[in-house]
Each structure stands twice: as structure tokens, then as C-alpha cells.
């Protein structure tokens, strides 16, 4: 077995040192009736590297990968070009095979990366501080709602209609068990977000308003107006960013009044990977730092006065506070945070701004071309790289028919909102820098065929 270094001679010698006759003497505490006498029946035995690679390669080959087809999906997971050096650097064993940096003297590499990552996220979001990452955007969103409850000592959260339905469902699941009240309704197929509706839902018991920016239909909500209304009632504004590339073009939520900004960092440096692992981003105003969930890396000095970094403020965390912790989180998404940070370092603010403009331009080209398809209309007044088109029939069927033509044509609203019949004809279409003019033409032509 290629991964097990002990030889039979080693095992015999070691049992001798221990004073045990057989390996089973070391399992005496397992009740005899529950002990298995040999390998579990019905499962395959060990296999060579070549055989395993062949098996897994065959499974991979049964998937239509995004790079092998005109591809227009988004809805919280975005396909971007990742520079080759990103994946090379995250595969360095010193990063890949290290643990959480609990021994800072021999983990300064990871810790400095986390400090740089926190600074990058804070600046991107326009807030003062950010943590060292969470599991993903949806769980970061729930953690933000929980944190707003701790800060305001209130338990009613208003979720905007344009919040990703998986995020809303995640929040609703948690709220069922914590007793928080969640005000959430599915979106309407309208060109503009429902700013007045969100503002009207805020009352004196509201802990926070959660607004996605851009929203699930690709629309851009008026964060500043909602922030003002929330603050007037003593509530916090939580902004949710599922496509951080957008912030190369759009104003940062923190600069528009958001108190907590969370997001999905997958777009920068982390591939699609069928939905995970992704990267939860979490930033907020500095005054809330002691109510933040998750790990934080801070600057300090060592015994010789040299600058160094440590995990800090751990008195908020589960391994110290146990049932009084701000969150039960233990693992974050360290390696994905590294990938994000490397990619962001390669881009720089200038590169990010340019990348965002290219994304937006490709989306405009896609929207203009799709609008020419008979029976198809573009819903949005404004959008970044994702927009909603309205089709003459159920978009779920259209997406399936496009897939039969080897075109991954978007995300149907029916898949996201199966109970909302009025949304069924909606299709979310995303274009990024990876989308070519040929891809757009292929989608438009196929759509003309499917809808004819």
C-alpha cells in the first residue's frame, strides 16, 4: 500500500515495544461483538494509482465541462479565467499541507497571507475590517444575520426579494432553530428592484436588512437609500455580493452605507468545482469587531520586536468560549482565501477595474444580441455581467433543449423558484471575460432554433 510506510517487520518490532501480541490487543476497548473480523464485504480492495485515475477520469468524462461548450451560467457561481500561477502557488506543500496557524512561529506564511487577504477584502468591500474567511457566501450571509442580531439585540431580519434563493433558504433554515423572524418574499419579474418595498418592511424590531448587490436577477439595488432607511430605524444594512468582480466597476457597499458586507469569493481565484469548496467573505465596520464570527488574523511583534502575525480575538471562538461563542465555526476556507489573494494580487485594483469593464461589455453584447431573438426580451434596466431575459415559455425546458445542443445557456428561474410560476419564463444569462463573440452568436442562434 503506497501510502503506508510501516513494514511488517516494523509492526512486529513496535508491538514488541508496546508489549502487545497482536494488533487486535490494541483494540480491546472496542466491544468484541462490534469488532469487524476483516475488510467489510462488498467493497472493493485497494487499487493502483493508474487504476484509480482511470476510474475517476471516466467519471469526469461523463460531465460537460464549462470550457467545452458555450457557457452562460452564473447565479452565485461564475466562470473566470484563473492565471496559471494561482493554482501553482496554492499547490505548494507548505500552504496545501499546513494546518490552521495555531503555532504562529512556524506559520507566518499562512498568517501573513490571511492578513493581506483581510486587507484586500476590506478595501474591496469599502469597510474597515474583514475576517480570515468563512465556508461560502450563503453561510457568511447567515452569520451576518446572526451577528446583526447580537449587535442590535433584535431578532427580525428583512431579506430583499433579490437575495439568492439558496442564501435565503440557508438563513431561513437557521432561523427556524434560533427563533429569529425572517421577512422574505420571492422576487417579481420587474426591471427594477423593489426599494420601496424593502424600506416599508423595516420596523423598530428589525435587526438588519439583507440586500444582494447586484441581485439575483442581475439588477442593481439602491443601497444608499436602503442604508439610510435602515439606520433611521436602528437596523443594520447587510450587503451581499455574490460576484466580487462587480466591485471593480460598481461602488463598494461600505461606501454606500452597508454596515456588514458578505460575499462569495469564488469568482476570484477559485474555480466552479460543481459548487464547492467556495470562499465566504465577511467584512464589517471596526466597531463591531468583537461580535464578528470566524477567525481573525492580527499584527503583533515577536520577542525580538520583529513584526509578526497571529490568530487573535479568539475569546470569541468556540475552542475558548464553547457554548458562548459567536459562532460554532472552526474551519474556514484557508486555501481558497490564498487563491483569492494571489489572484487579487495579480490583478491589483487597476486590473480588477479593467476586468470588470470587460465583463460588463461582454454582458452588454450578449444582451443586445439576445434581444434580437424573436420572443425574447431583456428584463433589466441596469446590470453588471448577469441579466434576466424573459422567454415565451418555461425556461427550464429551454435550458434542457439547449443542453441537448451542447450549449449551457444559463440558469432558469424555474430551477431556483419552482413554486413561483410567474417566474418560470425567466432565464439568467451571465457573460464574463471568458465569453467570446462566437459563444454569444451560438447561444442566440440556438435559442432562435429552440424557440422557433
Amino acid at each position: 500500500m503506497r501510502y503506508l510506510p510501516l513494514t511488517q517487520d516494523n509492526r512486529t518490532a513496535m508491538l514488541g515495544v508496546i508489549g502487545a501480541a497482536t494488533i487486535d490487543d490494541l483494540f480491546v476497548d472496542v466491544p468484541a461483538e462490534a469488532r469487524l473480523s476483516g475488510p467489510i464485504a462488498g467493497l472493493p480492495l485497494h487499487a493502483s494509482e493508474m487504476a484509480v485515475e482511470r476510474h475517476m477520469g471516466a467519471l469526469a468524462g461523463q460531465n460537460l465541462s464549462a470550457g467545452a461548450a458555450p457557457f452562460f451560467l452564473g447565479a452565485g457561481a461564475y466562470r473566470h479565467h484563473i492565471p496559471a500561477s494561482v493554482d501553482h502557488l496554492i499547490q505548494r506543500g507548505e500552504f496545501l499541507t499546513a494546518y490552521t496557524p495555531y503555532q504562529p512561529e512556524i506559520a507566518q506564511g499562512t498568517l501573513q497571507v490571511l492578513f493581506e487577504f483581510q486587507t484586500q477584502v476590506a478595501r474591496l468591500f469599502g469597510v474597515e475590517i474583514a475576517n480570515a474567511s468563512m465556508y461560502d457566501g450563503s453561510t457568511a450571509c447567515w452569520e451576518a444575520v446572526a451577528m446583526a442580531g447580537r449587535v442590535t439585540k433584535r431578532s427580525r431580519a428583512v431579506l430583499c426579494r433579490g437575495l439568492h434563493p439558496h442564501y435565503a433558504a440557508t438563513v431561513a433554515t437557521m432561523a427556524k432553530f434560533t427563533g429569529d423572524t425572517i421577512d422574505y418574499r420571492t422576487p417579481k419579474l420587474e426591471a427594477e428592484t423593489d426599494t420601496a418595498g424593502v424600506i416599508a418592511a423595516i420596523d423598530d424590531q428589525t435587526s438588519c436588512v439583507v440586500v444582494q448587490y447586484p441581485d439575483i436577477l442581475g439588477r442593481i439595488p439602491d443601497l444608499a437609500a436602503i442604508a439610510e432607511a435602515a439606520h433611521a430605524k436602528g437596523a443594520l444594512l447587510v450587503a451581499v455580493v455574490t460576484e466580487p468582480v462587480a466591485l471593480g466597476l460598481l461602488e463598494a457597499p461600505g461606501n454606500l452605507g452597508a454596515d456588514i458586507v458578505v460575499g462569495e469569493g469564488q469568482s476570484i481565484g477559485v474555480g466552479l468545482q460543481f459548487g464547492g469548496p467556495y470562499l465566504g467573505l465577511f467584512g464589517c465596520r471596526e466597531k463591531f469587531v468583537r461580535q464578528m464570527p470566524g477567525r481573525l488574523c492580527g499584527e503583533t511583534v515577536d520577542a525580538e520586536g520583529k513584526r509578526g502575525f497571529v490568530l487573535t480575538l479568539s475569546t470569541r471562538e468556540q475552542h475558548i468560549r464553547r457554548e458562548k461563542a459567536t459562532s460554532n465555526i472552526c474551519t474556514n476556507a484557508g486555501l481558497c482565501a490564498l487563491a483569492f489573494s494571489v489572484h487579487m494580487t495579480l490583478l491589483g485594483g487597476t486590473g480588477l477595474a479593467k476586468l470588470a469593464r470587460v465583463n460588463h461589455a461582454r454582458a452588454q453584447q450578449a444582451a443586445q444580441r439576445l434581444a434580437q431573438v424573436p420572443g425574447v426580451s431583456v428584463l433589466n434596466t441596469a446590470y453588471f455581467n448577469e441579466f434576466t431575459v424573459v422567454l415565451p415559455r418555461d425556461a427550464r425546458d429551454v435550458v434542457r433543449e439547449l443542453a441537448e445542443r451542447k450549449i449551457l445557456g444559463g440558469v432558469s428561474l424555474g430551477r431556483l423558484y419552482p413554486a413561483a410560476g410567474e417566474l418560470a419564463n425567466g432565464l439568467l444569462v451571465t457573460a464574463t471575460e471568458t465569453t467570446t463573440a462566437e459563444d454569444i452568436e451560438a447561444l442566440a442562434t440556438a435559442l432562435e432554433g429552440v424557440l422557433a
Binding site: 510506510p5 508489549g19 494488533i23 483494540f27 476497548d29 462490534a34 475488510p39 467489510i40 462488498g42 467493497l43 484509480v52 475517476m56 461523463q62 460531465n63 460537460l64 464549462a66 452565485g76 457561481a77 466562470r79 500561477s85 502557488l89 506543500g93 500552504f95 499546513a98 494546518y99 490552521t100 512561529e105 512556524i106 506559520a107 506564511g109 492578513f115 483581510q118 478595501r123 433554515t173 471593480g248 474555480g271 460543481f274 459548487g275 464547492g276 469587531v289 520577542a303 468556540q318 468560549r321 457554548e323 459562532s327 474551519t331 474556514n332 484557508g334 486555501l335 490564498l338 494580487t345 491589483g348 487597476t350 486590473g351 479593467k354 476586468l355 453584447q365 441596469a382 424555474g414 471575460e433
Partner: protein, 525 residues
């Protein structure tokens, strides 16, 4: 034991031979010392106008409808070209200890070798470059990976089903606890207490509290196991269940596990098992045979997906027949003709009507599933059993090679499982567990888990894992014995260790008192 390294300097040789003294200059002009490289922050190295990515010119101006939303200034993020970027992160990487460099015997963390085939497979385009919301007809291979891994996890644990979506161990704990809460609610009962042994991981009480339970601690016996009598005495109509780690955090198998499960079930409760230590028993015993109702499996521990400096993890939860109906969506469903579908929002009402809901966006940590399945297929049923046996053998070898110089509080009672536990009783006055840990850093090892479990004073929890060779263990044991004897000899240089790491002991008090969590050097603050 291996011979001491006569070529290198060791603190017990005294300061005269320290390379910082006598014939070696203390400082260099650059601040670097040969392969000991210092590295500035990107904010000090980068330029706001620099980028390491060549991007096409945008073909169109932003649409006019966006005019009110445009960013006033590009984010103040410095950029670096590719050579500068590669150098920055490569230099930083050299300040990290990692499994690839040597043993990483962190108890309870299972830092085993991460096979590189796993990385190669996870990067196949058919896995790495598929979108979670593609039509299921275009991702049958991805769904098969989930389904195949689920089958292994269910079979290895002897359970009824598995929830694959939790994103880490603590998220899996939450999944299991929410299943318990949903099951109790479905029975029309209101049980509000979760029993948690004092030796539990901190995530256990934090998770149960998050789900709205009140926590009551169950004491440990003198031999480091759950106090069965105290636990059964506390059971009653207000108790929802118990969260037990098995093997437990003292490195011992809970012999009474089946009796505990039976008692909890008889009292109307459920048994949650923290599966962080599954590596010790995989292929040797099935938790389902011990009456467990829910157990998370850290794929990043037992099944070797990389820890990555703190994640991402993955924490599927195996469930008993009693809890399966309450598990989260989405999950895969296999049809007779071999095709798979996803049970998600559209069909949940009919396929999983009692589900407690969704725990996160999309379908789980696919990138970890491909790695874990690759690892499992490499080992097979026979190899996984060998994993547990070698992990337990290595831990007992460490236990018996050190228990004459360090106090093993439960060592007399019998063998340990996959981790060896010591306390600070044998250390002389003035020396602590922390000093041994920091001394190990100078010896070229990552320290063991220290001060956990909390039930043992000055705990040192050593988990070698099965991927350490005997020669590697002997080197580690030699260093541990040397550190114990230096402490016994009153060698105060141990108190200021580490001496040879990229940094000396860091001031954690200052870090917490005046938190500096982001770089502000360019804003005059």
C-alpha cells in the same frame, strides 16, 4: 533512538556555538539570512497601477443606466506582475511548517499525508470546471462521485443515509443536531437540553447552543471516559440527546458506547457522535453497530483532503434510520436505469417532505468529494482497515516510548487509540507544556495539540497518524525525550524557545488588546 545531530547547534551546547555569535555576523544588510527570508507585505511591495494579468480592452463603455452606481475610484489594491507574485508567495510559503516537511502530530486533527493523485483528479476539467446549476444531464459523472462516496461512507459506518452538503466538521455537527431537533419537533415534544461530556471539542457545545439547546456537561471518570452513571442519571423527558466523541479526545474508545446509546434511546433521546477521530476505527468497527444516530466525518481528517492552512473542510453526516427523514436538501437520487438526479427545491416536498431545509448554497464540497473518493478507492476496504491499525499502532508506540519520561494519565489502564495523551505532571516546576511544544519547533517538528482536552492538566495530545514511518517516529521520540530531560535539567533556554524559527514567541496579548486586522500604512493612520 536516533543519535543527536552532532553537526548542528543545540541549545544544551551553550551559547558559544550559536551561529549568531563569535565568527558569524548578527545582522545582514538585507535582513535575510541565507535561506531564512523575510518578506514584506504586498501593500509595501505592490503599486496601485501594476497588474500581472493582461486583459483585453473593454469593447464598450459602461451602460448609461449604471452611471449612478459606478465606483468613484478603483479599489486601493496593489498589484504585482507574475514574477513578483510568484516570488512573494513562494518566500512566504517557506515560513510555514507543513506535513510535506515532517511529522505534524496535532492530536484530534489527523494530519496525514495528502496523496497527490487526489489533487490531480480534482483538477480534471470534468470536475473542476462544471457549474453547480448545469442541467443534471450534463453532470452525471459529478453526481456519480457524490453517490459513490456516499455509498462508501454509509457502508463504512453501518448507517442508513448520509447528508453530503455540510462544508466542514462543525457544519456537519450543526446538520446532525438540526436533524435531532427536527425529529423531536416532529414527535410533538419539546426537549431543550443537550448533554455534552467535558472532554468534548469546543465545537460541540457551540453547535448545540447555536441550534437553541441548553448545554449540560457530563463529567469524565478517572480513567478518561464518559461517566456512564452520571449520564444515565441525567436522562429524562427534557433531554434531546448526547454529543459524544468516539474515540474520545483522551484518545480512548468509549467502551460503554452501545449501553449509552441504548439508555439514551430508551429515554427518548438521540446520540450524536463527533466523528473527528474516525481514523482510529475505520474498517474496524461501524458506529451504526453502536447505536449512533448521527456522526459527521471530516473528509479532511480521515480521508486525507488537504487542510490548506485552515480549510476548506468537508463534513458529511451519516444518519440512522430514525433521523434520515429530516436530513437536508439537496441530495442525489439514483434511478434503476443508472441515471442520477438531484433532490432539491423542486422535488423536496414529495421526496424529502420532513427535511429541515437547506444548509448552504449548491450541493456540497465537490472538490473535496473527488479527493476523498480517490483516497478511498486507492486504499479499498482492506487498506482503510490497515490505516486504522497502523494509526493506532503508531500512537501506542509513541505512548510506550515516552511514558517513562512523561506522565500518561490514562496510560496504565491499557492501550490508546490513534492518539497518545500526556500531561505536565512530570515536568519540573517552572516548565510547562508550552515549553515542550515550543522546543519541538526548534527540533524541526510541529508541536502536538496542547492544553486540550481540558479535562487533563497541561495536556499534550499526540496523533502521529499512519503515514509516519517508524524511523520518523523514532526521530520524534528522540526529540521528545531530549526535551523532557532538558526540562528536568533546568535548561532555561527551553523557556524562550523557539530560537530557530522565522519568529520568536509572538505577543498575543498585544494583538488582542489593540487589534490591527488590516494594513493601514498608506492612509496615515
Amino acid at each position: 533512538m536516533t543519535a543527536p545531530n552532532t553537526a548542528g547547534w543545540r541549545p544544551e551546547m551553550g551559547p558559544a556555538q550559536h551561529p549568531d555569535h563569535e565568527d558569524a555576523p548578527r545582522l545582514t544588510h538585507s535582513g535575510d539570512r541565507a535561506l531564512m527570508l523575510e518578506e514584506a507585505l504586498i501593500f509595501e511591495l505592490g503599486r496601485f497601477d501594476a497588474t500581472g494579468v493582461d486583459i483585453d480592452e473593454p469593447e464598450l463603455e459602461p451602460m448609461s443606466a449604471l452611471s449612478g452606481f459606478l465606483r468613484q475610484a478603483a479599489p486601493a489594491l496593489p498589484g504585482l506582475t507574475e514574477p513578483e507574485t510568484v516570488r512573494h508567495y513562494t518566500r512566504l510559503s517557506r515560513q510555514n511548517y507543513a506535513i510535506d516537511l515532517g511529522p505534524f502530530p496535532l492530536g484530534s486533527c489527523t494530519m496525514k499525508h495528502n496523496p497527490r493523485l487526489n489533487e490531480k483528479v480534482a483538477r480534471m476539467a470534468g470536475f473542476a470546471d462544471i457549474h453547480p446549476l448545469q442541467p443534471v444531464s450534463t453532470v452525471q459523472g459529478g453526481l456519480k462521485v457524490i453517490n459513490e462516496l456516499a455509498h462508501w461512507l454509509i457502508t463504512l459506518t453501518g448507517m442508513q443515509g448520509v447528508a453530503m452538503t455540510p462544508k466542514a466538521g462543525a457544519h456537519g455537527e450543526l446538520c446532525g443536531v438540526l436533524c435531532i431537533k427536527a425529529a423531536i419537533t416532529a414527535r410533538g415534544e419539546d426537549r431543550t437540553v443537550m448533554l455534552v461530556p467535558e472532554s468534548a471539542h469546543g465545537t460541540n457545545p457551540a453547535t448545540a447552543a447555536f441550534a437553541g439547546f441548553s448545554i449540560e456537561n457530563i463529567p469524565a471518570t478517572a480513567e478518561g471516559r464518559v461517566d456512564f452513571a452520571a449520564l444515565t442519571a441525567r436522562l429524562g423527558p427534557d433531554v434531546a440527546g448526547v454529543m459524544i466523541t468516539n474515540p474520545n479526545t483522551c484518545g480512548l474508545f468509549e467502551r460503554d458506547m452501545k449501553a449509552i446509546s441504548d439508555a439514551v434511546h430508551a429515554a427518548g433521546g438521540y446520540v450524536y457522535c463527533d466523528g473527528a477521530n474516525f481514523n482510529a476505527i475505520v474498517g474496524k468497527v461501524r458506529p451504526g453497530d453502536l447505536g449512533i444516530d448521527a456522526m459527521h466525518i471530516n473528509l479532511h481528517k480521515t480521508f486525507s483532503t488537504p487542510h490548506g492552512g485552515g480549510g476548506p473542510g468537508s463534513g458529511p453526516v451519516v444518519l440512522s434510520k430514525a433521523l434520515c427523514p429530516y436530513g437536508p436538501i439537496p441530495f442525489t437520487e439514483l434511478f434503476e436505469d443508472g441515471h442520477l438526479t438531484l433532490v432539491e427545491e423542486e422535488t423536496a416536498a414529495t421526496r424529502q417532505p420532513h427535511s429541515f431545509g437547506r444548509m448552504a448554497a449548491f450541493h456540497g464540497q465537490m472538490g473535496m468529494f473527488t479527493r476523498a473518493l480517490t483516497y478511498i478507492l486507492s486504499h479499498g476496504a482492506d487498506g482503510l482497515r490497515q490505516v486504522a491499525e497502523d494509526a493506532v499502532l503508531n500512537a501506542n508506540y509513541v505512548l510506550r516510548s515516552l511514558d517513562d519520561v512523561l506522565d500518561a494519565p490514562f496510560g496504565a489502564a491499557g492501550p490508546c487509540m490513534h492518539e497518545a495523551l500526556f500531561n505536565d505532571d512530570n515536568l519540573p516546576d517552572g516548565f510547562s507544556t508550552l515549553d515542550i511544544a515550543k522546543g519541538l519547533i526548534d527540533e524541526g517538528f510541529h508541536p502536538m495539540t496542547v492544553y486540550f482536552p481540558l479535562v487533563v492538566h497541561g495536556a499534550m495530545l499526540i496523533e502521529p497518524t499512519e503515514t509516519e514511518s517508524k524511523a520518523g517516529l523514532d526521530r520524534f521520540i528522540g526529540s521528545m525525550r531530549s526535551l523532557a530531560s532538558r526540562a528536568k535539567a533546568g535548561d532555561t533556554s527551553l523557556k524562550s524557545a523557539p530560537h530557530f524559527a522565522p519568529r520568536r514567541r509572538l505577543d498575543e496579548t498585544q494583538a488582542a488588546r489593540r487589534p490591527v486586522l488590516a494594513w493601514r500604512g498608506d492612509s496615515g493612520e
